[in-house]
Symmetry: C4
């Protein structure tokens, strides 16, 4: 049976690739004054460190979201309207990432640090919700899925995102009190997702 | 018979994906003054609400335009110069969306609200015209279409866009007097298009 | 024989799609002062008309360059280093278009109109040269071409770009004295290319 | 055996295409004062020459990185987590290029010339490291590679990047003392990579 999701994946890949590459536009070239030396430039670059951190975290979070999107769509062969719009919701949120990322970069060293981390982690709660919605839409009608997919594989994929939801929600709540810890939880979740992305593909469900 | 529209679809997908992802660049990071507190940041973010509305409406309108583009090109197998340029006209208008969207975001709370909504709805009248033109070009020479496509399917697709035209035109005219209503009509049309996108694909014309 | 130029075409399509979509970033949202009315906004939008002209000309020129690129690569089945770099040179020039386009938009109503039109037409002379180079690289080794391509088709494609070169060069020279005429020649050349794109594909060389 | 790296290549092509096309945003349109003549505009454009140099070097460096990425992935048929993340690291660095490129453009004529060249060459040391990492991940498990690839071809590809590393490192160290020489070494390395890209593909390993 032929996959009919090729153009959805191509469009989604485009959005992921652009969202991830636009992040660099949030890194600003320092303005120097006449007479400023390389030491001033170096200091101006150093003081932007929250921008670099935000860039790294946002880049790899979108990258891992893409890896997971890839993994899910390997199991989806047909599409319906529900699936199209669950996917559209994911793309909407992913295209947004650079905005809270820029907020984080700009306000991490200010009094508004907590607020910017809360907005940032809140977006990832929503992205996790959207992935749950996508997988729920895909499994509502088993005709959409790869022929021969096992129930174990379906359950594992769902659990992967279900477990993510309370953790992201916890990070979101924690961000009100300990923003650094909340960011750390987000980074750890990406490491977990990166590691777990292997197991399902290669152990549970044979790749065509 | 092989499709020869693959590269047109790939190029179009690229333009749609970029147009939709560039929208985020119109969301601005607030400037705070020394001594400003998180409350100031929160207020500065809240006051930008027309920008968020414009972002949401523009994102999903481009997304639904892409869904419809996808649906039409599933029925087109060959291309000619007329088709290429009707498609180019759609891409031209889609690449423009972020500009009236930014006008809307900036002037929605000002005296120029009506003008910005009129420009915005006017663009969608043109996009609807371009879709009618594309489908007319595709059906002028039935050799361009998917072999075995039924006349009912052709008529349904045409009607889908024909009915859209007077509605968008109405929204455009209404925008001079009741801009909020005009925007609401646009949103409702997308809901209609989203819902109607299902019927033709799965009921009328069997998907290869 | 399988085409091995798929990823070159995909990468090129990406660059064309982005170059064409980034043009909108050169359209600026007017700044109004407190107390400004919709009439001020309308006037501020009207005074930007060279920007709209530059946007339209640049959009459709890149679009037609893409159509021609598409047409050439339908005849190319294998690649070598010379072809890769001739293509890279085209992409380099295409990614540049938005810069002279922005110069044109900004200085068309100033004393620097002639200079900005000269730079703009100069870029298209170079793009034409790059296309000649690409086709020359492709035909140097006939093993790169589509099996069964006729000598007439090869000659026609070459002539298409050869004839373009003196015309663009003429536009470039004319731009020093009559910038409006030079722009008009460029637009007319695109119309010619658009029209001629049909003949070769459908009359001379049967499409696989 | 079917390749299963199609979507990785498509996503990577997207990032490469966007990274290369965004570079033009770092070229700035000069601001003129009332009464300024075309001579002022010409001078303002001329004084930006380091920006043009940075644009050319960065464009072709990303282009050659893409050519090499293409070459490596022609030999890779399966993927695992290590490969995904080595590739992600390359894309991360490539998406960054426009930032040190903009630093170079802005500070090349200032006291901070050496610092900006050092940062710029340092990024290419990292990109070279990432390519070594990718090829090492791909060859750790020979099941990932194209069936029938010869050991000579594997060794040649590895050597290609291994030889690059000490040269880039040398350019990086030299940049502290002779920034112009360091930039020249980078350009020469791209010429070498461009030339060497031919040999392995067409002599050593038959292309499917």
């Amino acid at each position: 049976m032929e996959k009919e999701t090729g153009r959805i994946e191509a469009f989604s890949d485009g959005v992921f690739a652009i969202a991830v590459t636009l992040l660099v536009l949030e890194l600003h070239i320092p303005e120097l004054k006449d007479g400023d030396t390389p030491v001033h430039l170096l200091n101006a670059l150093k003081i932007q460190w929250p921008g670099y951190i935000a860039f790294v975290i946002s880049f790899f979070s979108i990258f891992i979201i893409w890896v997971n999107h890839h993994k899910i769509f390997k199991q989806i062969y047909k599409r319906n309207t529900g699936l199209m719009f669950a996917n559209g919701f994911i793309l909407f949120l992913v295209s947004l990432v650079s905005y809270p990322s820029a907020l984080l970069a700009k306000f991490f060293l200010s009094d508004s640090k907590q607020l910017s981390v809360t907005i940032y982690t809140g977006l990832f709660v929503l992205i996790n919700l959207a992935f749950n919605l996508l997988w729920q839409q895909a499994t509502l009608d088993k005709k959409l899925l790869r022929p021969g997919i096992s129930d174990t594989a379906i359950r594992r994929l769902r659990n992967n995102y279900l477990y993510g939801f309370p953790t992201y929600l916890a990070a979101f709540i924690v961000s009100f009190f300990y923003p650094d810890l909340a960011l750390a939880v987000c980074v750890l979740l990406w490491v977990f997702w990166a590691a777990s992305s292997k197991k399902i593909n290669f152990t549970e469900t044979p790749v065509l």
